[in-house]
Amino acid sequence: MSWIDIGALDDIPLRGARMVKTRAGCVALFRTAEAEIFATSNTCAHKGGPLAEGIVHGRRVTCPLHNWVYSLETGEVQGADEGRIATYPVRVEEGRVLIDGDAIGKRSAA
């Protein structure tokens, strides 16, 4: 894995999200707890809703367009609906958020 520094942890609001543009498409970064981040595709499997705009609760997000709920750990849709979105390795180090460059189609400069 090659970790790429995306930005400061504090630029993502607690129980909120931000979007990052990558070669593999738009990726959403969710801050589910003080120092806990998940990364998934930003695009809802239903009709493409922007997941970074959804309400983040527990380790889940609700799509803002028609309320599909995703597990951020598995990328799987919860409840009766069926679907899955890609998840990406991400970690927090010294207040910075790092994402796996290989997984998002971009190697780190190092």
């Binding site: 790429i4 995306i6 930005g7 630029d11 993502i12 609001p13 607690l14 129980r15 909120g16 931000r18 979007m19 990052v20 543009k21 990558t22 070669r23 738009c26 970064l29 009709k47 493409g48 809703g49 922007p50 705009e53 959804g54 309400i55 983040v56 609760h57 527990g58 889940r60 609700t62 803002p64 367009l65 309320n67 709920v69 998002i104 971009k106 190697r107 400069a109």
Partner: protein
């Protein structure tokens, strides 16, 4: 009693809980927030035994509203507990773009405002410009990252957010009244503007739309609004609980008053009573269906109660009557509207 009358098989229907996070109803939660003086969302989740760590997309916006309505000074609004439209202060469209609607007080605008709107539409490549049913202009198809700059431009021309996205005061539709119409009995436009200036920025359980017509010909369609005022020679007829959405409802008469000042007082008191008692996402007509118009008439009929409601509304407005566009267009806040990073721009290896 009911069991005796209806037989053993009868079971009281279980009251509908807010969501899967709790067994409590909206009414329970509103009552317990007051009774136990809960001042924060974590306090609600802990004290009231939520099953989830921090709620879900159903209860979070409701609890956030109850806390800010009951404690405008103590509680701080939580943007992360708001639906995207209220967090971004724009309406999200089905393709993920947003629409922008500046406020037009009482439906009145000017050449310079229209010029600023036209300039913004050109500058930000707005594909659709539409006149709304609430007497203002909707700019549709704006990219999320363009919002702060567009707001700053509109702000510079004196335009503020029309809250077309909020569970809050939307529009006050008016007709031209005595200013221009030969049938006008009162200054319906002036009263509409006065009401909109007083009520804008307030959060309510659901959206609130008003209208003021200058005579019973009712050109502003006041009889299907949450609060609709029809001017007559002898004063102002205030109707409440109208709707023209999934349900169509005609307003019912709340009161008739003689002066414009009284019309404003009754309207503000009614809105505050609704804010304090209604369940989140109940429009006024739904709430009235539960508590009954008679109870509302009786409550508001007491002059001291009415004044106290108006005072509490005005207190809340000292916090919430601010233009969100002006607040979010500043640099640090505006950054949140852009991607945190763009990894497609870096040079390929």
């Amino acid at each position: 009693m009911l069991a005796v009358t209806l037989g053993d098989a009868f079971a009281m229907p279980a009251a509908q809980p807010i969501c899967g996070c709790t067994d409590l109803t909206h009414e329970d939660v509103r009552r317990l927030i007051k009774a136990r003086e809960l001042k924060s969302q974590p306090a609600v989740w802990q004290e009231l035994g939520w099953r989830t760590p921090n709620g879900c997309h159903v209860c979070r916006p409701a609890v956030n509203f109850y806390l800010l309505a009951d404690g405008p000074l103590e509680y701080q609004d939580d943007p992360q507990s708001r639906f995207v439209n209220e967090r971004k202060h724009a309406n999200i469209q089905k393709d993920g773009t947003f629409s922008v609607v500046p406020r037009m007080w009482g439906g009145i605008t000017s050449a310079s405002e229209l010029r600023a709107i036209a300039d913004a539409a050109e500058k930000y490549d707005v594909p659709t410009v539409k006149v709304t049913g609430g007497q203002r202009i909707d700019l549709l198809g704006v990219k999320g990252e363009d919002l702060p700059a567009m707001w700053a431009d509109l702000n510079a021309a004196g335009l503020v957010s029309g809250h077309a996205y909020s569970k809050g005061l939307r529009t006050v539709k008016t007709c031209v009244g005595t200013d221009h119409c030969r049938f006008g009995t009162q200054d319906s436009t002036g009263l509409g503007i006065r009401l909109e200036k007083r009520l804008w920025g307030s959060w309510t359980p659901h959206k609130v739309k008003l209208a003021v017509s200058g005579c019973p010909r009712n050109c502003a369609e006041a009889t299907c609004k949450d609060v609709g005022i029809v001017c007559v020679d002898s004063g102002y007829e205030i109707g409440v609980g109208g709707a023209a959405g999934m349900d169509v409802k005609e307003v019912e008469r709340l009161v008739k008053v003689a002066t414009e000042g009284e019309a404003v007082e009754w309207t503000v008191a009614f809105v505050q009573l609704y804010r304090e008692h209604a369940r989140y996402l109940d429009r006024p007509y739904k709430w009235l269906g539960k508590v009954g118009l008679d109870w509302v008439k009786e409550t508001l009929g007491d002059a001291a109660t009415r004044r106290a409601l108006v005072e509490r509304f005005d207190l809340s407005q000292t916090i919430y009557q601010t233009d969100p566009w002006a607040e979010l267009a500043v640099r640090e806040k505006a950054r949140a509207f852009a991607p945190i990073a763009d990894l497609t721009l870096e040079a390929a290896q």
